[in-house]
């Protein structure tokens, strides 16, 4: 029985080592090592503790040659890490590895369309144009334009509009009295932050303790959106606030 376990465990340990080595080689851009390890049975989709695959790591580090090789081998492109929940394209764009990003898009044009919001935030004009050449859907275009306008990315906004993105509907006019009723400081029992709201130039302005102020766009009398951070503020009543951001929903009460 012991011998059988040895037969099972030892190869598994050896494979674990090969996978670790493959991840390291992909990260460092060692094409020869990646090739050899894959031939030797390392898992093309091996993962780090945070869900990063060899392709993810190579793209994140801008190692275009390794990324090309892994793509040829059929590596999955739609990978998100398990901690930041970011796609490898988002990370690569932040680090300005544009050539590597375009290499991945050449294999998976759909990925370019899905990354459009990150492209708008981080990419150069050529990369934005390359993303638009993948023919994103109207919804993807419009969302990206919303982001570009919010973040004042004029170049990207122009390209998006040329590609057919529609600017968001003008924010509805909210009665000044209604806006004034939202003014105050809100606290939540769920998270230790305070949010202050006030009115300036007919617009609602907010500030979370310790952070820069923000101006959310009105969707309706009670709903406001800050597209750049994916936050939605709703005032169900004048002394309560609901904040939705990512997977979380937080309830606030006005304290002063």
């Amino acid at each position: 029985m012991k011998c059988i376990l040895c037969l099972l465990v030892v190869p598994l340990l050896a494979l674990a080592d090969k996978n670790e080595d493959l991840l390291a080689a992909a990260r460092s851009g060692d094409v020869a090592a990646v090739e050899a390890l894959l031939k030797d049975g390392a898992d093309l989709e091996a993962k780090t503790a945070y869900g990063q695959t060899p392709l993810f790591l190579s793209v994140m580090q801008g190692k275009t040659a390794v990324a090309s090789l892994l793509l040829e081998k059929g590596a999955k492109t739609d990978v998100r890490d398990t901690f930041y929940k970011m796609g490898m394209i988002d990370m690569a764009l932040q680090r300005k590895h544009f050539e590597t990003v375009r290499t991945v898009w050449a294999k998976d044009p759909g990925l370019a369309a899905r990354s459009l919001q990150s492209v708008v935030l981080f990419a150069d004009k050529d990369t934005v144009a390359a993303a638009l050449a993948s023919k994103p859907s109207q919804e993807q275009l419009d969302r990206a334009l919303n982001m570009a306008l919010d973040m004042k990315k004029q170049d990207a906004a122009e390209l998006l509009q040329k590609a057919g993105a529609k600017p968001p509907a003008p924010a509805p006019e909210i009665d000044a009295k209604i806006l004034e009723s939202y003014v105050g400081t809100y606290k939540s029992a769920q998270i230790p932050v305070e949010i202050k709201f006030w009115v300036r130039d007919g617009k609602l302005v907010g500030q979370v303790t310790g952070q820069p102020e923000f101006t959310p766009r009105a969707k309706s009398e009670k709903e406001f959106v800050l597209a750049s951070v994916g936050a939605e503020f709703t005032f169900p009543a004048t002394d309560t606030l609901t904040l939705k951001q990512g997977p979380g929903t937080y309830m606030f009460n006005k304290v002063k």
Binding site: Y50, Q61, T209, G210
Partner: protein, 445 residues
């Protein structure tokens, strides 16, 4: 007469002890000095500035004090323009110091700042990169008045006599502490050594094979080593002495842990915690306060001293037999927390100071200090005042208590990354180029 002499000797000894700041954050890692440094000073005019001494190189290590001696460490590169990148930013890039460096330990006279001796512990090109807010000599030294220990991460652990003679050195291996997500983003070691009885304890959390270990102070012989399933962290271990003996409390991403300080045996563990951990635990009121601030898990825990085993709270609970109180959010990232009197204070990187009732965890106030800016140094306190140091050279003095009261804003002409030290009535502030001794001269607050 004899009783009076004994009493005065005792008081003199106590007074001398009270002036020692033997490790990062001083006696018992509490950050509290016994004297009364001034509230206000003016570096330009020299008001209440006793001396300032140029310290070469770059370091975020705190000065430490024993008796009339101050010990500092630094790393001197051939690029004399090396500096820090201050501010609130989230990018993860490292600084690649590719030039030759000399890692130094220096002793200064506390009375006048004169350099008494300087030793080069190691030299060469740094083995790892560093964070832009960090340095190649980040851990603060530690001393017991006979031995001075300096830890330079990948460059080794060194022990000197107080006269500057090298006693022993140890190579603890490559300390590639960096971003858990990308080991290429190396940020350098920062956990400082601490002294327990006649041993020095170091916490070495790196990408692989992390450990905590103790070495004999006189010989450097390894006394114990306990492996840790940890990723890189930057907090300093805290020694907590209780009725069950002394334990070493370590902040860690995969678990906050307590170890027997004499044997290294793990006594308890607690999670969850942030994935990036930089702060040092602090003990007071029979509780051990541990916090971390990297989202999304940003806890504050008040752990009862003497607790054993797995202390992890049940889902939905904020307290237990082992945990007096806790928060899952609100923990802070770089500056370590401090307990002064009845209150626990946390200082965010963005200058938001939050006060809690230390026993119950009730939040008492939350207030931005100053007009913004970024903070890396831990608060220190003395005479009922907190000293809060911003990276941009501001030192705010806040009255300790249940209500926020700003007593003074002092402007220093240098970047301040290091946590200050307090020795008697002297506040030692380390700028990126000089060490300043601040003490009341003449009448003051």
């Amino acid at each position: 007469m004899r009783k009076q002499m004994l009493a005065s000797l005792f008081l003199a000894a106590m007074s001398a002890f009270a002036q020692n700041w033997p490790q990062f954050r001083g006696p018992n890692s509490g950050g509290i000095g016994e004297g009364k440094p001034p509230v206000q000073w003016d570096v330009e005019k020299g008001t209440n500035v006793v001396w300032k001494t140029a310290i070469p190189g770059l370091s975020v290590a705190s000065p430490v004090v024993w008796g009339d001696r101050i010990y500092v460490v630094t790393a001197v590169g051939t690029d004399t323009n090396q500096t820090f990148r201050t501010g609130l930013y989230g990018d993860t890039d490292s600084v690649n110091d590719k030039t030759a460096h000399a890692w130094k330990v220096m002793a200064l006279d506390k009375a006048n700042g004169k350099v008494l001796w300087e030793q080069t512990a190691a030299s060469g090109v740094p083995k790892t990169k560093r964070h832009p807010k960090s340095s190649q000599a980040s851990p603060s030294p530690a001393t017991n008045g006979k031995v001075v220990v300096a830890y330079f991460g990948s460059e080794g652990l060194y022990a000197y006599s107080t006269a500057g003679r090298l006693l022993w050195k140890k190579d603890l291996g490559l300390q590639n502490a960096g971003w858990f997500f990308d080991p290429e983003s190396e940020w350098g070691a920062a956990s400082s050594p601490i002294i327990h009885k006649n041993s020095v304890i170091v916490q070495c959390d790196r990408q692989k094979d992390s450990f905590v270990a103790a070495f004999d102070l006189d010989s450097g012989k390894e006394l114990w080593r306990t492996a840790r399933t940890e990723i890189p962290t930057w907090g300093t271990p805290t020694l907590v002495v209780g009725k069950d003996g002394a334990e070493v409390v370590t902040n860690g991403s995969k678990g906050i842990r307590g170890y027997d300080a004499d044997t290294g045996k793990e006594l308890w563990t607690l999670g969850p915690n942030s994935e990036v951990v930089c702060t040092t635990p602090v003990a007071a009121n029979g509780l051990i306060y541990v916090t971390a601030g990297y989202p999304p898990v940003q806890p504050i825990y008040a752990i009862k001293q003497g607790a054993r085993g797995d202390l992890t709270l049940k889902a939905g609970s904020t307290s237990s037999e082992a945990i007096a109180w806790s928060y899952s959010r609100g923990g802070v990232y770089l500056p370590s927390p401090i307990v002064v009197g009845d209150h626990l204070y946390t200082l965010g990187n963005n200058g938001i100071l939050t006060a809690y009732d230390a026993k119950t965890g009730t939040r008492v106030y939350q207030q931005r200090v100053g007009m913004g800016g970024s903070y890396a140094a831990a608060p220190v306190a003395a005479g009922g005042r907190l000293y809060l140091t911003s990276e941009d050279g501001d030192v705010y003095v806040v009255k300790a208590g249940a209500q926020f009261e700003l007593l003074a804003h002092n402007k220093m002409p240098e970047i301040l990354m290091a946590t200050p030290a307090i020795s008697g009535d002297v506040l030692l502030v380390r700028g990126h180029r000089h060490l300043y001794a601040i003490r009341q001269q003449g009448p003051g607050l």
